[in-house]
């Protein structure tokens, strides 16, 4: 009682221990501060460049969420000026810091798709993702899975993996086909209704997310599970207004007992006279379809143009394109080229889009030897 604790402790205090303690303190403080400060230093520049102050802003950019107490005093949105003359679209998208919008109509979520997306080597800070999902049971399940992965990447993932912004839309119309199974989906009678829905979904996604800053739009189907990591740079490098990669599917060949690949997407083609004549004899609402024996069009299909994998740079002009991995200059869409949900010159969806782009003066091209791979069910 008579001897206070202080003197006892001080007596035992060793300068070395004190030093160690001090170092430890500094160490802890450093780690407390460093992760946030390092991220803020990098994201700070990003914030200045393209984050919006208000939630009423182009969804292609993130916005700073107001704190709950500040929400009340958040004034009217500012007057924002966008100069679209300064939006460059060049063959060197990374060098010019061009913003890319990756759009995916999604009915089912494939983990491989997301993993492949994360592998893309284009700077993720310049990529905005857009998804549209139907409001069906299947769509809800896919949305849940998608959101889970997004959460993982955007909140917990490393900074360089995080995308600039992500938009999830839910469709406002009922899918006319209840089943998304491959056999059902590809039946000829179901094609028109299915592709009408697809067109509407694609258009809804496109016109609400395009925004004023996008330079390129990459259409990537949700069942594309393997692409070269440099997909965006590569396709943009050809500086074509519309360019499509060749979509193949890997499968297990029972005969050779090994993995093999086969062409999958038949929507990219060069037109033929037979198809023209066939179209001329049709009613105004009928559409020409590709890949069905009942309707022989004799079009030149890009799927079968693939020759030598080493000749990656072969570029062919096309009259119809598929939407599996399709890179489009934002100009083309801004001029009005969309995916017609009706028979447009007897074409629909992506094929109709190619026709419309041509009517607007933009020629679509294809890369027969540049392959992306479709999921195999």
């Amino acid at each position: 009682m008579a001897r206070p604790m202080g003197s006892v402790r001080l007596k035992k205090a060793n300068p070395l221990t004190l030093l160690l303690g001090a170092v430890l303190c500094v160490f802890i403080l450093f780690f407390l501060i460093s992760p946030s400060s390092s991220s803020s230093s990098s994201s700070k520049t990003r914030v200045v460049v393209d984050s919006a102050r208000h939630h009423l802003s182009p969804p292609t950019s993130p916005y700073r969420k107001p704190k709950s107490d500040a929400a009340v005093e958040l004034g009217p949105p500012p007057v924002t000026r966008y100069n679209l003359n300064n939006v460059t679209i060049t063959a060197d998208p990374i060098g010019n810091q061009e913003h890319v919008l990756i759009l995916t109509p999604m009915a089912r979520f494939y983990q491989e798709y997301w993993d492949n997306l994360l592998k893309l080597s284009y700077p993720h800070g310049l990529i905005t993702l857009g998804f549209i999902l139907p409001k069906s049971k299947e769509g809800n399940a896919a949305t849940a899975l998608l959101q889970q992965q997004i959460q993982k990447t955007q909140k917990q993932g490393p900074e360089k993996d995080r995308f600039k912004s992500i938009i999830i839309l839910r469709q406002d119309f009922e899918p006319s086909l209840s089943s998304q199974d491959e056999s059902e989906r590809h039946k000829m009678v179901n094609q028109k209704a299915r592709r009408e829905d697809m067109s509407k979904a694609r258009n809804s996604l496109l016109f609400t997310t395009l925004g004023p800053a996008t330079s390129w739009v990459l259409w990537l189907d949700s069942d594309i599970v393997e692409t070269p990591p440099s997909l965006i740079q590569d396709l943009a490098g050809y500086s074509k207004p519309v360019i499509v990669a060749n979509c193949f599917q890997k499968y297990y060949d029972a005969e050779t007992k090994s993995m093999a690949e086969r062409p999958y997407d038949f929507n990219s083609w060069q037109d033929s006279d037979v198809a023209q004549k066939l179209g001329a004899s049709m009613g105004p609402d009928d559409i020409l379809l590709e890949g069905y024996a009942e309707m022989a069009t004799y079009r030149l299909l890009m799927a079968y143009m693939a020759t030598n994998p080493s000749e990656k740079d072969t570029v062919v002009p096309l009259d119809g394109v598929g939407g599996t991995a399709l890179l489009v200059r934002a100009d083309v869409h801004r001029d009005g080229a969309m995916f017609p949900p009706f028979a447009f010159y007897h074409l629909i969806e992506t094929e109709g889009f190619a026709k419309m782009a041509k009517r607007l003066g933009w020629q679509p091209y294809g890369l027969p030897n540049y392959k992306v791979y479709h999921y195999n069910e």
């Binding site: 202080g6 004023p212 009005g336």
Partner: protein
């Protein structure tokens, strides 16, 4: 153990009273030696210095991460941590309904601009008067290839409106989009509406519209409203009025297009339909379309393509029901309200020849193709600014010359008369005197007669008063279109009409404005009723103006009159 040193205790058997007392009372040795004390002091000093340094850093960099750690997140850089990158929208929530203002549906107002500086003040006076909740309206402007100060004036005006003290004034998202298309086509009326220039001009206009829409449309929009900047008079409730049609008549998919007239000088018959792009398809036109080249564009209102289509513009009846709808195939771009859904699913302004049409007409065609209902309101009138065409200007010049010639003639006549007078002297004086006398006599007789008539009239009026009480004025019956309207409203409109007739000088829109304000301040329950009434009032407005224009004798005055009207509107 017994307590030794208690303040409350007894040290000598007596209670101590109010003496200062320190406990313990006994001497205790210092617990620390001098060196320790020194070290302690040093620590304290160091601590103080450290504290001061932190305070200074907090003061200098109040938002550093350091601060947020030290204050356990109460201070500092939390805004960056709350950067929101993921957005989720359900498009089923933005379908657009007839009573959008109740469901807080957002409207995107799109205005393409080009060398439009002189019209902006008028446009902003319209903007301030919209009765649809402003915070639900997002504005998007496309400024293209402008050589005047359109951009500066526009952004100044917008900044002003967003900073307005009245919380009801600021709009939602406001974006100004700049894009030059390198148009060589001149914007004056002759080159704008000349036949040869039409196709390429319309295609460029279509492109501009598409660029604007694709940059400004967001997943939260339920409606899109296209408005030309040079609309002179339009009801403030136009958004609600057009929106309402969704529920009343058309199912869930609709386009509404108000037709457009413009007030004109008297010699052109008072008024002339401006927007000929709203029409119903005709057999002739369809047959014509089949004969044309794939890239040809049919444009209305030119003799080169006689389409024989019924036009919205020619169907106007000043007393027609403003709610009347008419199915149309081609749409005019002056004032279009469409559900955002229409644009989302891909309908746009074709910048190519879509079924032989481009821009807004092609838009109508495409919407029809996608099975949306396209409806025009032939009796719902908004007024476009009058701009004289080259023919009109020629006509004006001729008339001006005629006037000058006439004046000259008159002057010559006068001079002649004066000369005659001079030459023949004042022989007329005696005649004048006689005339005066005769006149006086006549006047007396007339006065007598008048008095008699007056007395009779008073008698008749007394009789009439009893029968006349219930009967409203016949004029009103004609003016009100809906028979079932309450009587109070009828009287109101009558009052307004009379008012506007009495003082033509007072700008009609100002009147409407003050009225709108007044009604706004009233209870909200009143609002729908007020909304119904206002367009009616403004529809009557053009009437006095027309008369005024007709009354104006000098033809070139009309341009000036238009200008002053504009100024007044701006006020």
């Amino acid at each position: 153990m017994m307590p030794r040193h208690q303040a409350s205790g007894f040290s000598n058997g007596y209670p101590r009273e109010k003496t200062f007392d320190l406990s313990p009372h006994s001497f205790q040795p210092r617990t620390s030696i001098a060196a320790q004390r020194q070290r302690k002091r040093l620590f304290i000093r160091l601590g103080i210095v450290f504290f001061v340094v932190i305070l200074i850093t907090l003061w200098v960099w109040p938002k550093s991460a350091f601060a947020s750690v030290l204050s356990l997140g109460l201070l500092g850089a939390s805004s960056e941590l709350e950067l929101e990158t993921v957005r989720y929208y359900d498009l089923t929530n933005v379908q657009g309904t007839a009573r959008g203002w109740e469901r807080e549906e957002r409207i995107l107002l799109c205005v393409p601009l080009r060398d439009a500086e002189p019209h902006l003040s008028m446009f902003f006076s319209h903007l301030r008067n919209f009765t649809y909740p402003h915070h639900l309206i997002d504005l998007a402007f496309l400024v293209s290839d402008s050589k005047d100060r359109t951009l500066e004036v526009l952004s100044d005006n917008l900044e002003q409106i967003q900073a307005d003290a009245d919380p009801k004034q600021p709009y939602g998202e406001v974006s100004i989009i700049e894009k030059d298309f390198g148009q060589e086509v001149n914007q004056d009326v002759e080159s704008r509406h000349g036949f040869a220039a039409q196709a390429s001009r319309r295609k460029l206009m279509a492109k501009a519209r598409n660029w604007l829409l694709s940059a400004a449309l967001r997943p939260y929009h339920s409606w899109v409203y296209w408005r030309d900047v040079d609309v002179e008079t339009a009801p403030f409730t136009i958004l609600e009025d057009l929106m309402r049609h969704n529920k009343d008549v058309i199912s869930s998919k609709s386009n509404n297009s108000a037709d457009v007239w413009r007030p004109l000088p008297d010699w052109l018959g008072g008024e002339q339909p401006y927007d000929l792009n709203s029409w119903q398809e005709s057999e002739t036109a369809l047959a014509l379309a089949d004969t044309l080249d794939e890239d040809a564009v049919i444009v209305e209102g030119y003799a080169e393509y006689a389409t024989w289509r019924p036009h919205l513009a020619y169907l106007r009846d000043p007393y027609g029901d403003p709610d009347m709808e008419m199915e149309i195939d081609g749409v005019g771009g002056v004032s279009i309200l469409a559900k955002a859904k229409v644009f989302r699913t891909g309908v746009h302004f074709p910048a190519f020849s879509f079924q032989k049409h481009a821009e807004t007409e092609g838009f109508g065609k495409m919407a029809k193709r996608m099975k949306y209902s396209v409806v025009g309101l032939p009796h719902y009138v908004i007024w476009h600014l009058y701009e004289p065409s080259v023919d009109d200007i020629k006509h004006m010049e001729e008339m001006e010359q005629e006037r000058i010639a006439r004046e000259k003639e008159e002057e010559e006549k006068k001079a002649k008369a004066a000369k005659l007078k001079e030459e023949f002297g004042d022989g007329a004086d005696t005649w004048e005197q006689d005339k005066q006398e005769l006149k006086e006599l006549k006047d007396k007789a007339a006065e007598e007669e008048k008095r008699r008539v007056k007395e009779e009239k008073a008698k008749v009026a007394q009789l009439k008063q009893n029968t006349n009480k219930e009967k409203p004025a016949t004029k009103d019956e004609k003016a009100t279109t809906n028979q079932g309207k309450p009587k109070a409203k009828q009287e109101k409109s009558q009052a307004k009409q009379e008012e506007s007739e009495v003082d033509d000088e007072k700008p009609a829109t100002n009147k409407g404005k003050s009225k709108a304000k007044q009604e706004e301040s009233e209870a909200d329950v009143e609002k729908p009723r007020a909304n119904r009434e206002k367009p009616k009032a403004s529809r009557q407005k053009p009437k006095p103006k027309k008369e005024k224009l007709a009354g104006a004798e000098a033809e070139d005055d009309n341009v000036v009159a238009g200008d002053s009207e504009k100024k007044r509107l701006a006020e």
